[in-house]
Symmetry: C2
């Protein structure tokens, strides 16, 4: 559209400017922003980010200014162009995997190479033999073949054992026949498959002599390497638009008895002996079990940052957006109040601000624990192989792994739900403008939502946590529990069963943590009673299990946050006032959660009704007031570049209204369309051959 | 893309077909679907809907099959074409306003005539003089001019008094100068303004002789009637993409000292005397106050239907989608369980199913109350004018109106929040496929979200409810309360202050209602104590007020639902078993709410902790089990046509997977794009002049 006329260009927002308001916010707080940033990320990671950001900003293809306007096809094509450019830059600058991941985070949109770069390469690497690495992995690493990971089907997601695609062994010519016997066998939701990939790791039921051996991975070529057309008897395409994630070509895939050679089956852990046609299992895929735990741990840590983007945007904008005078102010008062001064806004945003730190430190703790466990396991594996002893020696490692596995399930569910739902709270806290794409929250939220479903559906996962806690309870009741944190809190609860609890939740931080542990233990033994004594059906207990998993995970977050702030590392890295403020955030997170889940805490006997009432009406309100002046500096510590946020409302310089107006009036392609507005005129509707017949 | 090959066409979903599963669901329930539908809507409304549906289905422009694929510009152009066609059909078939609204509901997308048809016409009609009706309204009704309602600004939403656009009276030439002194004065979010309207009702601060008289409505032409280009010194355009609502051209609008004639100011209630330049107020705009109440009441009633679409889709799909065997089933069991059998799915969906009916009956009751009040008011107005007495005579009408006003604020907030958040719960209950646009929930949810902000922001509104309840409490404490339901429940509470409560919430439905009333009264007097005795700042009480408003509104919903089921109308319209089932839905809604808000109920002394525990672990679980077999028939009673739902997952014939596959493989334009997948190839990125300079 035509550029804005001069009289428009001359206009400014009324009243104090956004930049002045943010400046004032920053001036009234003494939070050591840079130190806090370093505590969160380390200096190395921060420097890497800034280095890579400069490279990306200088490539036109990464310019984000049309992202919010473009339609699906445009967005996908641009995303593919970006993926290619990134692959080239990676090669040119000799980037590490960490560099590459950092770049993807800064670009902040799912890309068509996404599943090639992750699950395709990982699966080839972890489940392929050296021969298969030569055959597939090397080419994949050089992008000579582009792949994806085809597991989920139209009719089957979480229940992997129910997959319908078959891979039938043909002993005559030593091949497998990949086949989709039903429509529901169609692979579905497969990232990078729709338009991009020419290979797929296909999970299919292995069938030998009419007997099924469960799902196994097969590398299958699906498109021609030159024409990119689907191969014969392969039906493949994009599954259509989604609530978000539209830069990704999630695809469908059907096979009509397609033959693939013997080496298609990834054979590190199991294979079909080509001579005898016998199924052979070799080695243990427990490493993969570990990988899943690692992936979930990263989701927990990322959840803090994911949510922090929304909190940053909403907090900055709430410091600039003014609405109404304070009701108790004198009538002469005409200046409107920044909405961040209203307790109704604070109570929505500040507990989420606290949650960003809580989740970050929790994820970090889990990843440390995971690394520690890997060390123990490889150490004891080495020891036992030296001494020639069996696998029992690795017990302490696998005990820890079982605990870590359950922990990662529950925390993944809690963290991703907190982040997803928290982002929507942030969007609404921005009032009407939160609904504009330029808020930068909507797209981010919509793209993040699948995280609540993948790597284990958040509702399904809670059953695994409950199962583990039930098992731990039985161990404790039997008197011979393994030694870990879970059994410790259960034992403590039991040992005090004839004394009850007396936690000073309002006066002592460690008592606050203990109250959360108490509630977990109480709910665990309740669940054990229902299941083991009263023999209630599993299905009737799912809601209880869900609550139990949530309670346990909240305990773990509170505990991790507490321990992170008590650690020497933290104490040396940030100054005293900042540490004190972080402790207030800890208390806000814990107290707000306690108050929200008041019934459970009360029922467990961990606290009195009076304590819950005080938590809500006194403690939380007081913390909100104390944290409020530091809100802008606290979100600054997350160190999001404006280029990454791509948000009018969240601009670090406070030029909210200027940016909204610029995008609407100068970047918006709809404003090039001139319509005839009258119903009497020829209707503008264009015939479209894609429309279905009526 | 190429049609599906024959081998694909031959494929069917595995196992029992969706159509068989839904048939079985319907066979095992005896709910009188048609009677229930009639109870909800009346036969007349149902017949109207089906009549209009037939007309729409036969017009190609209304075909929905590309809706989920089209980009913003396409979607807007199609929506305008639809709006025009609808205007022509309306004229041709001589449709009533009700017919027209029904058609819009069936089309289910915001259209570019939306604000012309509603606020533009209503404002002209209600606030214009007969002369102005002649000048503007008649043309607008014939679509000779197309208008919008320009109130909200870039910097001001809820606080209408803070608007910055000015209309300055020029006594010399008897004109007004409309001006935007700041960038934040730009009108923003104005529906139908971006590309469509050539006129706007502009709310501007009336200034006479340097004195401001507050916001007033002015009719201003903004675009040329022939070329559709903006007039001189008018800057207007579309504000860009949003989280939803993208078929609507929400616009911005700036004026650079634009002169408009004296008759531009809508002058029914106030005007500038052109001779003296004096401001004259005439008549009372209380009618408009009433209109807002009416609009909010319709939002409450519609919220039931809005939510019911999501519940219908999720319930039907959950009866078809099967996942895992029951954990307690024998190992030989291979058939997977429909997910609707899992209590974790039931506890998410069935309380929402109950809420659809609860909100519907509540809205209906409010609209009846509103009509009754209008009758009283016009009757007593007529009486008093006959007798020549003053306006005090209409007291009983205005008392009722004040009660109704507060009620409508609280219920609007509760109902629209319940519907919006409930839809997202439904979407997630559909698992992975809920994320596909073809689920039909995502777009519907995204388009509905602004309802939580407009006609009063849901958080702001709760202050009005609290203010009214505080006033009522003071009346009651003073001993001279007006006689209405609010003062009755407050008085009852006070009268039992030395006896406490003993509500048999698990055994008696009317006691259940009373427990909700008790909680409202308790929270009201607590708030009064904080504000009036302890003199707490208003700002410190906002969170309490929010809870109070929610509690009161939940009470009103529970009460309305209860009364609707006790009414003679209901008893004569549905048979005994259906009525019994509706009462179970009432109990599920009430009991589930009570359990969710357990702390408050307990703190108020309305119930014991034991009762809350029993509500959760026994009563709710039992109700889920009893309602489960009837779920599909209950959603059938909402009578949504498949054309309206536009959902693969919610199809009434159960052909879920066939429809998903059809849309993905045959309607999806992205599948026409063939890419070069290798990073070494020429990057596909197209230069775009709209991209901002780097």
């Amino acid at each position: 559209m035509a550029p804005n006329p001069d009289w428009v260009k001359a206009l400014k927002p009324s009243g104090p400017q956004g930049s002045e308001l943010l400046q004032a916010e920053r001036a009234k707080s003494n939070v050591a922003v840079e130190k806090l940033t370093e505590l969160l990320f380390t200096r190395e990671i921060i420097e890497r980010k800034h280095r890579i950001l400069e490279i990306l900003k200088n490539e036109k293809v990464f310019d984000k200014s049309q992202n919010y306007f473009a339609g699906r096809i445009d967005r996908f094509e641009t995303a593919l162009a970006r993926a290619k450019t990134l692959a080239n830059i990676k090669a040119k600058h000799n980037w590490t995997l960490e560099d590459y991941r950092t770049a993807s985070e800064l670009i902040s949109e799912p890309g068509p190479y996404g599943l090639h770069d992750s699950m395709f390469l990982i699966t080839l690497r972890e489940q392929g033999t050296p021969e298969q690495h030569e055959l597939y992995l090397k080419k994949a690493e050089k992008y000579e073949i582009i792949g994806c990971y085809a597991q989920t089907e139209l009719g089957h997601g979480s229940n992997v054992r129910g997959l319908e695609t078959t891979a039938t062994w043909n002993s005559a010519d030593k091949t497998f026949t990949i086949h989709s016997p039903y429509l529901t066998a169609s692979k579905w939701w497969i990232g990078s498959l729709g338009r991009t990939a020419n290979h797929a790791v296909v999970m299919a039921q292995l069938v030998i002599d009419g007997k099924s051996y469960g799902p196994h991975p097969f590398v299958v070529q699906i498109r021609d390497l030159k024409t990119h057309k689907p191969l014969e008897n392969v039906h493949v395409g994009d599954i259509g638009p989604k609530f978000g994630y539209n830069t990704m070509d999630n695809g469908f895939l059907l096979f009509n008895k397609v033959k693939v050679p013997h080496n298609s089956m990834l054979a590190r852990f199991s294979r079909v002996d080509p001579q005898t046609g016998k199924y052979v299992r070799q080695g243990s895929p427990s490493l993969i079990y570990g990988t899943l735990t690692w992936v979930r741990s990263t989701i927990v840590m990322q959840a803090g940052g994911v949510l922090a983007r929304g909190v940053t945007i909403a907090t900055r904008y709430s410091a600039i957006r003014r609405q109404f005078q304070d009701r108790d102010a004198p009538e002469t008062e005409t200046t409107e109040n920044p909405v961040l001064n209203y307790t109704m806004v604070q109570v929505r945003l500040l507990p989420l601000l606290a949650a960003t730190f809580a989740l970050h430190f929790t994820g970090k703790a889990m990843m440390n624990l995971y690394a520690e466990n890997q060390k123990i396991m490889s150490q004891s594996a080495a020891d036992s192989s030296q001494r020639g002893t069996g696998p029992e020696e690795t017990r302490s490692g696998s005990d820890l792994l079982a605990d870590l596995h359950a922990t990662s399930c529950g925390l993944k569910a809690l963290a991703s739900t907190t982040a997803a739902e928290g982002l929507e709270v942030c969007r609404r806290a921005c009032g009407g403008h939160g609904y504009s794409s330029f808020s930068g929250i909507g797209t981010w939220y919509a793209d993040y939502l699948p995280t609540t479903t993948w790597e284990g559906d958040n509702y399904m996962l809670t059953q695994q946590v409950a199962r583990y806690l039930l098992k731990s309870a039985r161990h404790v009741l039997s008197g011979k529990p393994p030694n870990n944190n879970t059994t410790t809190i259960l034992s403590t609860f039991l040992s005090r069963s004839d004394m009850g609890a007396a936690f000073d939740v309002l006066g002592s931080d460690s008592d606050l943590v203990s109250a959360f542990a108490w509630r977990t233990a109480f709910l665990t033994f309740e669940a054990a009673k229902h299941r083991d004594e009263q023999k209630k059906p599993w299905n009737d207990l799912l809601v209880d299990f869900y609550r139990l998993s949530k309670a346990h995970s909240q305990y773990l977050v509170v505990k991790s946050f507490y321990e992170a702030l008590e650690s020497d590392e933290t104490k040396t890295k940030v100054d005293e006032p900042t540490l004190k403020l972080l402790k207030k955030l800890f208390r806000l997170y814990a107290m707000h959660t306690l108050e929200q889940e008041g019934s459970e805490f009360f029922a467990s006997g961990a606290v009195t009704v009076r304590q819950i009432t005080l938590a809500r009406t006194v403690a939380v309100m007081k913390l909100l007031k104390e944290i409020r002046p530091h809100a802008v500096r606290l979100v600054d510590a997350w160190d999001f570049d404006d280029w990454l946020l791509d948000s009018s409302l969240g601009r670090s310089d406070g030029k909210v209204y200027e940016d909204m107006f610029y995008r609407a009036s100068e970047l918006n392609p709809l404003n090039e369309v001139v319509v005839d507005p009258y119903p009497g005129s020829k209707v503008l509707f264009k015939e479209d051959p894609r429309r279905s017949k009526l």
